[in-house]
C-alpha cells in the first residue's frame, strides 16, 4: 500500500507522534497553506514542510474499512448519565452525545469552528449571525432537519427549567429566528466572534423541535441509540441514513464507563475492550509492550494550577506570587510527575496547540535566585504557608511536594495539606488562600478568560483584578479580524503571565489505549478520543 510507505516516510521525517498528528490533520482536509503554517509553527524546516504537504493526497487515499463492532470504555460512569445534550456532565455523556448528535458547527484540531449541520455561517458585526442549514439531513426518526429544530435546540438552554449546563453561555443569546426555509439567524446581546465555536460544543447539539423525552436519543448523528443503561453502558448502531457520505465506518459501538484505571487497561489487554480513555502515564509502557496495542496521545488544554488568592494572606504581596512562580521546576515536573506526557506551561492558560497561543511570551524558568529575591521582598519571613492539594486535582499532590522541596531551598516554609477528593471543589478550591485547582480544556480562549480570569469571573480563583484585561477581553470578543484578535489575546496572555496569582506549570496530555486495528484517530485538544468526537472518524482494520 502506498499510504503505508508514505506514513513511514513521514514518521522518519517528523517522528511518530508528529507524523500521525499531521496525517490526521490532512485526512480532515487541512489545506496546503494551513499545513505549512502548522509545520513552521512547530519549528519545522520549510523543506521538510514542503515534502510533507505532498503527502496530503495519499493520506486521504488510505481507505477506511467499513464494518465491525468497537468496544470503548471511558473513565466516567455515573447515575447522572443523561441523553439530554443540555444536561451532559461527564466525558461518557459527551462521547455518547457525539455518536447520536451533530452541532451546527464542529471544532477541528486547532479548535477552529468548521461547518457541520450549518453548511455556511457568517456575520457582518459578530452580533447577528446567519447559519445556512445543510440540505437532506434526517433525524433518526425520519424527520428532516428544519430551522425550527435549531431554534428549539438553542433557545431551550435559556429556560431555567431545562437546567442546562450551558445556560451561562446561552445567556448572551438575545433571539434565534428562522429567517428562511434553510436559514437561522442568531442575534446576540453583545457581539461575540466566537459564537460558532460555542455552538460547536457538545451541549449545543441539535435535537428535534419540541423534544421533552430524550430517552430515545434522537439526533442527526452517525449512530442510532440501541441501548442505554445509566452508569453502565450504551450501545449505538450505524445510522444508515447519515448525511456524510460513507460515514460512519463502524457498524456498532458499545460504550461503557469504567472507573478503575487498572481494570480498564486490563480489559483492553485481555481483548475485552478495543479503546479505553484516561490511561495513566504509568500504564503506557505496559500497553506498548503488549503486541497489538498502542497509546494515542492528545496534547490537551487541560491544566493543574496553583491558585494564590491575591485578596488575602501571603498572596496579597505580588512578590510572594512571583516567588512561587519561579519555584516551579517545570521540565522536571513534566518528566517526573507526568512521565513526559505534558507540555510546559507558562503561567497563562492557552496551550501551545491553540490557534491563539502566543509563542512570543518568554518561558518562565525555575530560578531559585529570583524566587529568593522576591520572597525576601515580600517580607513573609518564617511564617509557615499552607498549600492545599488533592488527588482530584490531577498530580497536584506530587506538584505540591516538589514545590515544597524547592521552597525549602530558599527558606520558605510550605505546609502541604493533602485533602480527600470528596467535596474538594466545594470546600477548599477558591476558599483556601493557596490551593491547587484543575481546569478542563475549554473550547475557546474567550470562555477560558471569561470564566477564570475576568475580574468578576465566577472561577477567578486568584481574585486577580485587571481592568485593562477586562477591556481587552470585550474588544477581542467583538473583533472578527483574526489577526487583530491574535494581538489582543497575546496581550492578555502576557498580562496573566505577569500579574495573575495563578501558576500553570504544565498542560496535561490525555492518553487513550487502543488496539492497533483501530485507525483514524487524530488529536483534538479538548481531550482524549478526539475531544469525545471520535466515533464517526475511526475504523477497524482486519
Amino acid at each position: 500500500m502506498p499510504a503505508m510507505s508514505d506514513r513511514e516516510r513521514l514518521h522518519a521525517l517528523l517522528g511518530e507522534g508528529e507524523g500521525e498528528r499531521l496525517l490526521g490533520a490532512l485526512r480532515r482536509g487541512l489545506t496546503r497553506r494551513e499545513l505549512l503554517g502548522l509545520l513552521l509553527k512547530g519549528g519545522m524546516l520549510a523543506a521538510a514542510a514542503g515534502s510533507t504537504a505532498g503527502l496530503a493526497l495519499s493520506a486521504h487515499a488510505q481507505t477506511p474499512r467499513r464494518g465491525g463492532r468497537l468496544r470503548v470504555a471511558s473513565a466516567a460512569a455515573s447515575i447522572a448519565d443523561t441523553l439530554d445534550p443540555a444536561k451532559q456532565a461527564n466525558y461518557t455523556d459527551y462521547l455518547r452525545g457525539c455518536m447520536l448528535h451533530n452541532g451546527l458547527t464542529t471544532l477541528d484540531g486547532r479548535l477552529a469552528p468548521q461547518p457541520e449541520l450549518a453548511e455556511w455561517f457568517d456575520s457582518a458585526d459578530a452580533r447577528s449571525w446567519v447559519f445556512r442549514l445543510r440540505e437532506g439531513v434526517l433525524f433518526h426518526n425520519g424527520k428532516a432537519l428544519a430551522p425550527e429544530d435549531v431554534v428549539f435546540s438553542l433557545l431551550r438552554h435559556k429556560d431555567p427549567a431545562t437546567a442546562s449546563k450551558a445556560r451561562v453561555l446561552a445567556e448572551q443569546i438575545d433571539s434565534v429566528r428562522a429567517t428562511g426555509p434553510r436559514e437561522v439567524t442568531v442575534t446576540l446581546k453583545q457581539p461575540n466572534a466566537d459564537l460558532p465555536v460555542i455552538l460547536g460544543t457538545h451541549h449545543f447539539h441539535i435535537v428535534p423541535a419540541g423534544t421533552t423525552d430524550f430517552s430515545a436519543g434522537i439526533g442527526t448523528g452517525p449512530f442510532r441509540l440501541k441501548e442505554f443503561k445509566r452508569g453502565l453502558r450504551s450501545v449505538v448502531v450505524r445510522n444508515e441514513r447519515y448525511w456524510k457520505p460513507g460515514r460512519p465506518y463502524l457498524d456498532e459501538i458499545e460504550l461503557s464507563g469504567l472507573g478503575d484505571e487498572s481494570a480498564r487497561v486490563n480489559a483492553l489487554l485481555s481483548g475485552d475492550l478495543d479503546l479505553v480513555g484516561g490511561v495513566n502515564p504509568r500504564s503506557v509502557a505496559r500497553i506498548k509492550a503488549t503486541a497489538g496495542y498502542d497509546v494515542f496521545v492528545t496534547r490537551s488544554g487541560q491544566y493543574t494550577d496553583l491558585d494564590i488568592r491575591q485578596d488575602l494572606g501571603p498572596g496579597a504581596s505580588p512578590d510572594f506570587v512571583l516567588a512561587m512562580k519561579y519555584l516551579f521546576d517545570r521540565p522536571r515536573m513534566r518528566d517526573a510527575v507526568a512521565l513526559g506526557y505534558a507540555e510546559l506551561g507558562n503561567d497563562q492558560p492557552i496551550d501551545p496547540s491553540h490557534r491563539f497561543y502566543f509563542p512570543g511570551l518568554p518561558q518562565r524558568a525555575y530560578d531559585p535566585e529570583r524566587a529568593r529575591y522576591h520572597f525576601r521582598k515580600s517580607g513573609l519571613g518564617n511564617t509557615v504557608v499552607p498549600v492545599v492539594a488533592s488527588p482530584v486535582a490531577i498530580y497536584s499532590v506530587e506538584m505540591a511536594l516538589m514545590l515544597q522541596q524547592a521552597a525549602d531551598g530558599i527558606g520558605l516554609k510550605l505546609d502541604v495539606k493533602r485533602m480527600p477528593a470528596d467535596g474538594y471543589w466545594s470546600t477548599y478550591w477558591m476558599k483556601s488562600p493557596i490551593a491547587f485547582g484543575n481546569v478542563n480544556a475549554r473550547p475557546s480562549a474567550d470562555i477560558l478568560f471569561t470564566q477564570f480570569f475576568k475580574s468578576d469571573g465566577p472561577w477567578n480563583a486568584s481574585r486577580w483584578r485587571n481592568p485593562h484585561f477586562d477591556q481587552l477581553l470585550l474588544l477581542a470578543r467583538s473583533e472578527s479580524d483574526e489577526a487583530r484578535r491574535q494581538q489582543y489575546y497575546a496581550d492578555m496572555q502576557t498580562l496573566i503571565h505577569d500579574g495573575a496569582g495563578v501558576g500553570i506549570p504544565m498542560f496535561l496530555s490525555s492518553l487513550d489505549g487502543h488496539t492497533t486495528r483501530l485507525k483514524g484517530l487524530s488529536p483534538v485538544p479538548l481531550g482524549g478520543m478526539m475531544g469525545a468526537a471520535f466515533a464517526e472518524h475511526v475504523w477497524l482494520e482486519d
Partner: protein, 319 residues
C-alpha cells in the same frame, strides 16, 4: 411451639422496623454533615453561587434537614422511595435495574461457597489435628488475609490478560446461555468465595468442635452411635445456631459490601450504585440503598436465628 415462634417473629419484626427507623435517621444526619451537597457536587467546576442556589431550590434542598427527613419518611411509608436528585429516574427504577444483578451474584456465590464451607468445616472438625485440618486452617487464614482487590486483580491478570480464558469484565446483561454465565461469573464468584468461605468454614469448625467435646457426645458414643450419625444427627443440630449466623453475616456482605468486585469487573450491582449516590450526595438513593441493605441484614439474621431454633431440639421444645 408455633405460638412461641409467632411471638418471636413478631417481636423480631417490630425490632427490625425500629432499627430501620433509627438507621435512616442516622444516615440522614451523617449525609447532612458531609461537605457539599447534591447541588455543588453536580455542578462541580460550574458551581457559581447563582447556579447552586437555583439547583438547590429545584432539588428541594432549601428546606431544613428535619423537614426533608419527615417528607422522605412520609413518602416511604406509602412505598415511594422518591426521585433521584442527580439522575432523571426514580430511585425505584435505578434499584430495579441493579438489585436483581446483586441478588444473582449473591445467589451463585452462596450456592458454591456455603456447601463448600460446610463440608470442609465439618471434615476439619471431625478430623481435627490431622494434616487435613491443618492444611484447611492454614489455607483459609492465608486466603482471608489477602485483600479482595488483590485476589481480583491477580485473577484478571492470570485468567484474562495472560491466559485469555475468561473475560475481564462481567456485563450481567450479555448473558443468554449457561456457558456465558459461567464465564462471566467465574472470576467475581471466585473472588467472593475466597472471602466468604473462610469465615463460614472457620465458624463451622469451631462450633462443631465445641459440641464434639461436650459431655452429651460422650453419652452418644456410649450409646453406640458412630461416625456420620454421631456428627450429623447429634452434634451438628446443636451447632447450627452459630453456623447459620456466620452464613447470614457472609450473605449480607454479599448483598451490599461487594463494591471492590463490582468496580474491578464492572458488574452492575447495588454497591456501586450506593457509592455513586454518596459521591453525588444523592440522599434519596443513599437512603433507599441503606434501607435495603439493613432490611436484608435483619431478615438474614432473623432467618439464621429461626434455623438455629428449629434445628435445636432443646430450643424447639421449650415452653
Amino acid at each position: 411451639m408455633s405460638a412461641f415462634l409467632l411471638r418471636l417473629v413478631a417481636r423480631r419484626v417490630g425490632l427490625a422496623l425500629l432499627s430501620l427507623l433509627l438507621v435512616s435517621a442516622m444516615v440522614f444526619a451523617i449525609t447532612a454533615v458531609l461537605p457539599g451537597d447534591a447541588a455543588t457536587e453536580q455542578l462541580g467546576q460550574d458551581a457559581t453561587p447563582e447556579a447552586v442556589a437555583a439547583l438547590r431550590e429545584q432539588l428541594g434542598l432549601g428546606q431544613s434537614v428535619p423537614v426533608r427527613y419527615a417528607h422522605w419518611l412520609g413518602r416511604l411509608v406509602q412505598g415511594d422511595f422518591g426521585r433521584s436528585m442527580v439522575s432523571d429516574a426514580t430511585v425505584s427504577e435505578l434499584l430495579s435495574s441493579r438489585l436483581p444483578n446483586s441478588l444473582r451474584l449473591a445467589a451463585v456465590t452462596a450456592a458454591i461457597s456455603i456447601p463448600l464451607a460446610l463440608v470442609l468445616g465439618i471434615l476439619a472438625a471431625v478430623r481435627r489435628g490431622s494434616w487435613f485440618d491443618r492444611a484447611v486452617s492454614m489455607g483459609t487464614v492465608a486466603i482471608v488475609s489477602v485483600p479482595e482487590f488483590l485476589v481480583a486483580t491477580i485473577a484478571v491478570l492470570v485468567f484474562a490478560v495472560h491466559l485469555r480464558w475468561l473475560p475481564a469484565l462481567s456485563y450481567a446483561s450479555d448473558i443468554s446461555s449457561l456457558g456465558q454465565m459461567l464465564r462471566a461469573f467465574a472470576m467475581p464468584v471466585l473472588t467472593l468465595c475466597c472471602v466468604t468461605v473462610a469465615q463460614m468454614l472457620r465458624m463451622t469448625r469451631a462450633a462443631l468442635i465445641d459440641q464434639l467435646e461436650a459431655p452429651y457426645i460422650e453419652m452418644v458414643r456410649l450409646k453406640g452411635a458412630t461416625g456420620a450419625r454421631l456428627v450429623l444427627a447429634h452434634a451438628l443440630p446443636n451447632a447450627i445456631g452459630p453456623i447459620a449466623n456466620a452464613v447470614a453475616l457472609s450473605m449480607s456482605y454479599l448483598l451490599g459490601g461487594v463494591i471492590v468486585v463490582e468496580t474491578i469487573f464492572n458488574y452492575p450491582g447495588v454497591s456501586k450504585l450506593m457509592v455513586d449516590g454518596v459521591a453525588q450526595r444523592d440522599i434519596p438513593l443513599v437512603q433507599a440503598c441503606t434501607m435495603i441493605f439493613c432490611a436484608g441484614y435483619l431478615v438474614l439474621v432473623m432467618l439464621a436465628d429461626l434455623c438455629g431454633i428449629l434445628a435445636n431440639p432443646r430450643l424447639r421444645h421449650r415452653r
